[in-house]
């Protein structure tokens, strides 16, 4: 029988670098694909509301009258379904996680009011219809 088979591993560990990081001093580098949090480019958003309908956690609220797009940061489950279904590709997934907090937070993004030009308004309506 093999006597003390763990000795080699123990010695190797004794003389090698630790497997852990000094966390707060040495922050973790996230890989490219990490699903951290949702970011919106409100300028290209057409407030169609598809993301809020598709969200499995009901974390996204789109208010067309008030022209706002808001997300419950601690309700979002980072599944990426909204990113995938956004028709204008306004949503994107960034690597950093939402920081821990004492209270649940809702981030609201306001879309500036439309300029009163006639053709822009009709384009907007068309896009909403298509969506």
């Amino acid at each position: 029988m093999n006597m003390m088979p763990f000795t080699k591993t123990a010695l190797k560990n004794l003389f090698s670098k630790p497997a852990t990081r000094m966390y707060p001093q040495q922050a973790r580098k996230y890989p490219q694909r990490t699903r951290g949090h949702i970011e919106i480019n409100i300028d290209t958003c057409i407030l169609c509301g598809i993301c809020s309908k598709k969200c499995p956690a009901d974390a996204i609220t789109v208010d067309r009258a008030g022209r706002t797009w808001s997300i419950e940061r601690f309700g979002c489950i980072q599944c990426g379904y909204c990113v995938e279904s956004c028709p204008k590709k306004s949503l994107s997934m960034l690597q950093d996680y939402t920081q821990p907090a004492g209270q649940k937070r809702i981030d609201t993004f306001e879309k500036p009011p439309e300029p009163p030009k006639e053709p822009v308004v009709s384009e907007q309506k068309e896009a909403e219809k298509n969506a």
Partner: protein
């Protein structure tokens, strides 16, 4: 004859990662009978199918378990794809195979760590979990999540693994295999470990069959059944045989699981060698109508997904039969006649996942 006494065990116990309660009927230190009760963490995920449409439910299905989350999502997706007669691209099938096997490696390493922790071998536990950490990093690198992957969808996969990523994974697996070989010597050859595992918790082949056990728990009693052989994902194109042992004690279960990790490395190598190029998903239109029973082999054994659809976007019924649920009667059988001190290890050797069981 001595008097009988009842010792409550769980739902909170240092060795149990998840809550199950057992009333152990003892004669002196010997267990005569064990009466289980579950239901501490029922979440009602099956009921949720009435609120979430069949596409959204993929994200609910993969939250049934935090360890085999990929396979829960995949099992549900495959069931709905069968209902809708969707043929997913070959590359997606291979990706599902690779991720499934990575989940199996992850789950078995986690279990090995927990086992080492249960018999008090702290540094062996650390070693196992250090290896598991590499798998989690690979998952994050390829899917974007360490526990919940969100890469399955009805009709294929959301993300592709480029070939250079697959090759880099292969070289990492080669290193892990070497590392695991040294750990195997300790798990299967160390005197102290053997004294805790050998000759306790026997389950005969007949008992394993009669009590309907599944997975490595069943295979370690000598029944060579593996749901992967039914041929979902890319498994029909992969050459492998179920790993079995005829002994049926705790040691055999450890042995089977460790060799399943090596087998998973081999399956991943085969899959990477055969993976075709192309799309990873097909567009799916319409709503499902019909029913299907899908069986997948999870790290803990066979899981069954029953899906019944009615032609609208909400499904009528989803039922998940998880492997731990099937293994509980077998576990109670192994407990009969054992010493009280062996109970934690015996419960652990079925690899219980109570969260899955209660959904």
């Amino acid at each position: 004859m001595s008097t009988r006494s009842i010792v409550p065990f769980g739902p909170q116990h240092p060795v149990l990662p998840e809550p199950i309660h057992l009333d152990l009927v003892l004669e002196d230190e010997r267990v005569v009978e064990a009466v289980p009760s579950i239901g501490f963490i029922h979440r009602g995920l099956e009921k949720l199918v009435e609120k979430k449409d069949f596409n959204e439910y993929v994200y609910v299905a993969e939250r049934i378990c935090g360890i085999c989350s990929f396979m829960h999502g995949m099992g549900y997706c495959e069931a709905v794809e069968h209902v809708m007669n969707v043929e997913i691209p070959d590359r997606a099938k291979y990706l599902r195979t690779i991720w499934s096997e990575m989940s199996r490696i992850h789950s078995h390493l986690l279990w090995l760590g927990l086992l080492a922790d249960a018999f008090g071998f702290e540094s062996l536990f650390m070693q196992s979990w250090r290896m598991r950490e590499k798998i989690l990093d690979m998952f994050e690198y390829s899917t974007g999540g360490r526990v919940i992957f969100s890469v399955n969808k009805i009709g294929g996969e959301l993300k592709d693994m480029p070939n250079d990523m697959l090759n880099s994974f292969l070289s990492m697996f080669n290193d892990m295999e070497k590392e695991l070989k040294t750990l195997t010597k300790t798990f299967l050859g160390d005197y102290a470990v053997n004294s805790r595992l050998k000759d306790v918790g026997f389950l005969t082949k007949q008992q394993a069959h009669d009590l309907g056990t599944v997975g490595p728990f069943m295979r370690s009693s000598g029944i060579a059944l593996d749901t992967r052989k039914l041929g979902y994902a890319a498994y029909p194109n992969i050459d492998f045989e179920p790993i079995t042992s005829t002994v049926g004690d705790s040691y055999a279960r450890t042995d089977v699981r460790i060799h399943e990790i090596f087998q998973s490395f081999d399956i991943i190598r085969q899959a990477v060698a055969k993976i075709p190029n192309g799309e990873v998903s097909v567009p799916v239109k319409g709503f499902p109508n019909g029913e299907y029973m899908m069986r997948v082999e999870q790290p803990r054994g066979e899981a069954v997904y029953y899906v019944k659809a009615n032609g609208t976007k909400f499904l009528d019924r989803v039922r998940v039969r998880t492997p731990t649920f099937a293994n509980l009667p077998g576990m109670l059988e192994t407990l009969k006649g054992c010493q009280l001190a062996d109970v934690p290890i015996l419960i652990l050797t079925i690899d219980p996942c109570i969260s899955c069981t209660e959904r």
